[in-house]
């Protein structure tokens, strides 16, 4: 009994002592997470200087981040912030830096080249951007130079747009039972191809709006076993361009996790379409599209907004075909930069390495979203 009391008193004293030590001499990481400091406060090496900059960007401590730059006289702090978060509202406007990675590329006694990879947590998933930073020695400190990219600002002007717009009047609640309603757009799956992947069964295909009106589209699929019982039902979610203008084609991809194609007897496809008000504006040119073979197989290109409206979010969907014209893969990428009129914005879509050698041609479509837009 006496021993128990002794242990209890000992533990209590030890706890109080540790709390006091932690409060008086806190660890750097604790300071950083409490907002009072940085994990990586040192700039004694090029790596530490860039890591410190990355940490300030993560905390959105723009003033400190800007103040740590060697070339800060070449641009203003707002220009630095806009270079990171976008000049116009875009995916990066409403995001935070999840993590960053620093990789040395080259180093000498007075200067170094470092690669800073920024992982932004956006509403549509991670967006990764990479900057190559030149780091210079300044006395006993290293300071990174920020490779500022100034987005060309569209001068104030009036751009007349006379693209078609469709509005819809649906039947009213008081209409007669036999009264007509507007017909849903006629859409058709023009290609469908299931493939077996490590993560499960993937259904690839293309959907055509064969009507003369715009359509909001979606595709769902049900896998049926050999005994015709349903295994699972999934939808295309965002792996499709949901707005199809007349005669427009979109690829789609539907994923079924933890299912193998050998278990599947048949597949029931269900394309959905609804008539919605829409505009033929904006028109996006997809330029300089280039297929790059493995390793690092990808499709690169640039988007050029040919309209007067700023596109805040662009979603690029690529359809990849083999030599016989069959769809072998569908991949997508959100562009984290707003599309200003007539301003090229690059994009890159990754292609799975094992499929890249089968890819012979491609077709790319862009779904666009404008905040407060007319669509």
């Amino acid at each position: 009994m006496n021993n128990g009391r002794l242990y209890a008193a000992l533990l209590g004293t030890l706890t109080v002592a540790l709390v006091a030590i932690g409060t008086i001499w806190p660890a750097p990481s604790a300071l950083a997470y409490s907002g009072a400091g940085s994990i990586l406060g040192s700039s004694s090496t090029p790596q530490a200087a860039v890591e410190s900059l990355g940490e300030e960007i993560r905390k959105q401590a723009w003033e400190k981040a800007y103040g740590s730059l060697a070339n800060r006289t070449q641009f203003t702090e707002p220009e630095f912030v806009k270079d990171l978060t976008g000049y116009y509202p875009s995916l990066l406007t409403y995001t935070a830096l999840d993590k960053f990675e620093v990789r040395p590329l080259h180093s000498s006694a007075n200067e170094a080249e470092m690669e800073l990879t920024l992982h932004w947590a956006t509403v549509v998933g991670l967006s990764v951007s990479t900057r190559d930073l030149h780091v210079v020695r300044n006395g006993d400190r290293w300071e990174p130079e920020w490779p500022i990219v100034r987005e060309s600002i569209v001068p104030p002007q009036v751009i007349p747009v006379n693209y078609l717009r469709w509005d819809v009047i649906y039947r009213g609640p008081g209409d007669d039972w036999g009264a007509q309603d507007v017909e849903a757009p006629h859409v058709r799956i023009v290609d469908m191809h299931p493939v077996d992947r490590a993560e499960g069964v993937v259904i690839l295909g293309e959907l055509l709006n064969e009507d003369v009106v715009p359509a909001y589209v979606s595709v769902s699929a049900t896998l049926l076993s050999k005994s015709q019982s349903a295994i699972a039902t999934e939808g295309s979610f965002d792996k499709i361009d949901h707005l199809l203008l007349p005669k427009q084609v979109t690829p789609f991809l539907i994923q079924f996790h933890n299912v193998t194609l050998s278990d599947v007897g048949s597949i029931r496809m269900n394309p959905l379409s609804a008539l919605i008000p829409a505009s033929a504006d904006p028109v996006i040119e997809i330029g300089s599209e280039q297929l790059h073979p493995a390793p690092g197989a990808s499709l690169t290109g640039q988007l050029i907004n040919q309209s007067g409206q700023i596109v805040n979010v662009a979603h690029v969907l690529g359809t990849f075909y083999d030599k016989s014209g069959q769809v072998v893969w569908v991949a997508d990428r959100y562009v984290d930069q707003a599309l200003s009129p007539q301003t090229p914005v690059p994009f890159e879509i990754h292609i799975p390495e094992d499929l890249a050698r089968n890819v012979s041609s491609q077709r790319t479509v862009v779904a666009t979203y404008s905040f407060g837009g007319s669509q």
């Binding site: 693209y163 078609l164 036999g178 017909e183 064969e210 009507d211 084609v249 300089s288």
Partner: protein
């Protein structure tokens, strides 16, 4: 045992007597009454009674003097169906039933026309179904001739005459070769119902573009885009222009404006331009400076 048997036969005899009394007290009812028409129900006996007429959609209650005829004016019973009649007196209850049938004269048509929009030149693409009702919205089940008429703005008229079966008639029509808003009319006597069917152009046919150098760009312009019947494909239809040059590709999905699609792409020597709309391919142009 003998007492039980006597009691059983007694109950049976009383039931038979009651049944024969009820048969005697059956009212003289009409077999059928046309919806909305006047009718009467005579009664026998003496004294006061209450007459109930109960159907699915209506209930009537009337105090009557037995031995007299109860008159019901036009519009008393309007819902077609089977009606139960009970005449409850102080000493006995009489009951019976009759049917209210729909009026013979059609007054309303419910006309379902599908689809409201379809491509031109589609055989059997339009269907129309008609349900014939009387003035009180009762389905007229008696065979009734219905005429269907689909009129195109190009004054092509398709007509069909169909007799209803169990109150319904239907017809299948073709969409014509000309686009426009068709009037689809179903008619029974003087009663008619109209629907509109939009016949829209089909896929582009013979899609063709021309190229012209404008500065450092090539302007690609399609000829007016028409379907195989010569109808102008509507504005907003997407035309895809593609430029292939030295392994690189550029594409633009351009909606038709004023019947044509127009785009400017980089002028590379040896570039191949192609045009397509939906699943229809157009011509190709190889650009040589």
């Amino acid at each position: 045992m003998r007492v039980r048997l006597t009691f059983l036969f007694g109950v049976l005899a009383a039931a038979i007597a009651q049944m024969s009394l009820a048969q005697d007290a059956r009212m003289q009812l009409p077999t059928t009454v046309e919806a909305g028409s006047a009718f009467s129900i005579p009664s026998v006996g003496n004294g006061q009674a209450t007459l109930y007429i109960v159907g699915l959609g209506q209930v009537l209650k009337r105090s009557v003097k037995l031995g007299e005829t109860a008159f019901f004016p036009a519009g008393s019973l309007i819902s077609a169906g089977h009606y139960l009649v009970v005449l409850a007196g102080t000493s006995a209850t009489q009951n019976g039933s009759f049917d209210v049938v729909s009026a013979h004269e059609p007054a309303n048509l419910s006309f379902l026309a599908k689809p409201s929009r379809l491509p031109v030149g589609l055989h059997g693409g339009i269907t129309g179904a008609v349900y014939v009702f009387d003035d009180y919205h009762n389905l007229i089940s008696a065979p009734t001739p219905v005429s269907f008429e689909l009129a195109n703005p190009s004054s092509t008229v398709q007509k069909q005459s169909v007799v209803t079966r169990n109150g319904a008639a239907w017809a299948v029509m073709d969409s014509t070769a000309h686009q426009g808003i068709d009037k689809f009319v179903a008619r029974v006597g003087d009663v008619y119902s109209t629907r509109v069917v939009a016949q829209v152009p089909g896929d582009p046919c013979g899609l063709k573009m021309t190229a012209q150098l404008i500065g450092q760009q090539v302007r690609l312009v399609t000829d007016p885009v028409r379907d195989c019947s010569g109808n102008a494909v509507p504005d907003g239809t997407v035309v895809t222009f593609t430029e292939n040059y030295n392994g690189a590709q550029s594409t633009v999905d351009e909606p038709l404006k004023n019947g044509v699609a127009e785009v400017e792409l980089s002028a590379h020597n040896g570039a191949a331009f192609s045009v397509a709309s939906g699943i229809v391919m157009g011509n190709q142009i190889r650009w040589e400076k």
